[in-house]
Subunit: 280 residues, 4 copies
């Protein structure tokens, strides 16, 4: 019986960068948290403790800051591309570089009715990107994370399968709430990532708001379909949606009705719906 | 040597409520997380295990939902007041009721350029309220939590005290970032809580953006002073501000300068500045 | 109307230290997270942006590491005392120094049936200390945080107060679970902090396990009383105990009974019981 | 251009169970958090909103509690197997069931020098299991999560690759700390999961403590190899290890040396090393 090293990788996670660009009194900022991961010829390091093909993860971190100085971080996908290209160029022992980025979305503080040139506030939502590169080419993903949404109409869950352990009641008018986590794959060249990102995000929000939902699966599919239909540069989309349940409170012990007005919010347990849609 | 029961209280925390109001196709929602705490005559419970003066914390939770059915939750301060009044009225064994609420701020999804009537998205910021009531009267606080801000100009830290362990350099142009946690005390009657809350929040943001900061203490004081000066109904304000450090990266080992463009974001360690300002 | 600066303080939080002592092949480690806070003459900094009495929080952090080099960190209370003494000695502008420490408890990995001399594993429990010092003297607290406990017998909750919103049933045999957070005040001189800490902790655990509990208040009081009765050097103890509810699952819809065997664990909402006991 | 539904699944996460077994005054408890996930014929639900093949996630949750009543939860792997078998038997529309479980490890409180029969305390470590079943058979994994370890000797990182952005110094005697997350695949029949789990865990800890580490990759491989060599019933093991850096503090500005005694603990950025080892 021989023991073999199988799939393996190493890298640096939680590399945190703030990049400031100052032009004519107007400042722009990008705040990214990055994870870099290498796959390559690392068997000697594992088996014999020979580090001669191991670029330190500390160097990966330094590279983020050095490249940030050279590039103004316009779209997060582009900065990930620069990192992947750099690491593949200078590291023949590496055959795959995977860079994931999560961007804290800073908007401008409104002051005197106008966006302030150098003061910012942050929402909880993230813009994400992932570039996976080999010497054959790159796969580029964009996405959204942490976008919390809720609707109070057009959400039902009826006609489902029942078994002896089913106690759930049919519901024609439930609260639907989720935390949107979407990741789409770009295709084509010369993509303007930021306009596409904003359009995809708005399409997802519009669909969430307006869709006549029979289930969270149904809503997920509608959101993914709308993005694929309206975006030429997106070929595939993955959505991962927790079902954040808001349960109607039974007020009958207190002699009260509850016409879909008072709910208890819960975090656990929660449903989890995941799917990938793609253009054929 | 006798052992005595000193200060004591009990209550229910993390009571989570969603209240929906539906009027003519337009829906409004409030999502609150509440903590209720009683002080009172509970010595027998502690010392002898006699529960006859202990209203269960489960009942406190039920009361939140029952009262939410009766009141449409207009301003969070008002809902806290209803709860305090209810508990003091029906519980002679209780001499102080403390209700703290944290409101998840839901805004409307923009659809077709307009706010959607029944679909919402959430920021990370919270509106807070606290009402502490006895049979002599109530103290009412409003506040903000989790409002993350950052500015790229008008922030220095110079001329500070030095000792043999001081290595920090003077900085004329640093990043200033914090998570605003403010709590103010209302005074007077017939206060319209929501307009006051919005005005206080805008005053804090305006001051943060425009103030020529010599330190986070200096900014804190300016924000508190501006709120007290502009708001008749606020008598006292407490601010608690972590100093979220963004450190300039030293790129000189790579032969690069760094003219305040590339920073590393850190969460720990962090400064913490706290102060109360009041009208005399 | 004048605006006055009231209570105020500043400091450094989340200062993280690992101290290693190596003696004859046996290593000992202490891992602390510290928060340091100054009260003093800081009005000029707030009001006028004059930093001449502000020792940077960065210096507070440096001081932790410099003093850790000089002191081997025997008991966490003692290290806090060194910090307080240092800051009061060299900072006449400061009149109160508050140092809080939370120690990650590392035990030795068992190897070949024996504790390993230089390899460690960590539980989730923390040992805490707090020293608050002025030029008149120090107050020293020790404590426990994050100690999760559960018992399956000797816990009832009956005979409680009922009102129209009470639906809770009497329970003679419930699960009792909490996360122990205790803070006691030492008194006297020449206290051997670590033996006292271990004895107080064991007393709390013994009482939790054996006490015939009528409520979490009843258990809290018994634990506090046992500590005060058995420890000469402890004068006062504060306990803060969340009631981590484990609810019996109703299996009757599936034709099953549930004789206190199957429970659902919940984090929210939760009860919260707090009290201070002291020797008179 | 057609849009197709690709990989998809749904399920219930964060289902929390406490199971108590009472025998002759001695109680045993298991606390599990489960995630259940179905793959199957769900296209109609996504595309047309037809829920007739969707068993509610609420029913999955109910099934956990109903099955927990029938089975005393001996080893966590066995309970996952019961769930998988149940769902596959009664749900022809499902072709894959995936059940993941994380067990909070409760030990007995020591009272009077002996383990208490009905009072427990919890560490932060988790035992994990995962069973993925189809009608062709099951894959069974066991594992560990959240086991925090640290060693103060026998850890070096030298001879690594350098590029122009490399500033890291060679280190012959560094702190090595990680949070062990291991998942192994069982093979064979009639496996006694709990003895194997305990032996695998001890092997991992022994190897961590004693191995002469040239890198975290080197330690990872040694741990995996030791488990595969000593365990007949384990065929494959995956390890995911963050490198929790403890950086030596530079005390030279204060005129002090630091002979590997004073370190700053950091959480971000951190290295991340992952690999799978298998028997060929």
């Amino acid at each position: 019986m021989a023991i073999k090293l199988g799939e393996n990788s190493y890298g640096k996670s939680r590399v945190r960068l703030l990049r400031v660009v100052r032009q004519n009194g107007r400042h722009d900022i990008k705040e990214l948290t990055l994870a870099i991961r290498f796959e390559g010829d690392f068997e000697a390091a594992h088996v014999r403790g020979d580090n001669s093909k191991i670029l330190p993860t500390d160097t990966m971190k330094n590279t983020v800051y050095a490249l940030a100085r050279q590039y103004p971080v316009e779209a997060v996908e582009e900065f990930c591309l620069h990192l992947v290209e750099h690491f593949l160029t200078y590291n023949p022992q590496v055959f795959l570089v995977d860079v994931e980025a999560s961007e804290n979305l800073w908007g401008r503080i409104t002051h005197g009715g106008k966006p302030h040139p150098s003061a910012f506030m942050r929402s909880g939502e993230k813009r994400t990107a992932r570039v996976t590169g080999t010497r054959e080419g790159n796969t580029i993903h964009g996405g959204i994370d942490g976008l919390v949404v809720l609707k109070t109409t057009k959400s039902a869950f009826e006609g489902f399968l029942r078994d002896p352990y089913t106690t759930l009641k049919e519901d024609r008018n439930r609260i639907l709430s989720t935390v949107i986590r979407a990741q789409w794959r770009y295709e084509g060249n010369e993509i303007e990532f930021s306009p596409v990102w904003h359009a995809a995000r708005q399409t997802i929000l519009d669909t969430f708001a307006e869709h006549d939902s029979h289930s969270l699966q149904h809503t997920l599919y509608a959101m993914g379909e709308a993005v694929l239909q309206s975006m030429d540069n997106i070929r595939e989309i993955h959505l991962s949606l927790p079902n954040k349940h808001f349960n109607l409170v039974d007020l009958s012990p207190f002699g009260m009705d509850n016409p879909a007005e008072v709910f208890v919010a819960t975090d656990e347990p929660h449903g989890l719906i995941e799917a990938t849609l793609r253009k054929e």
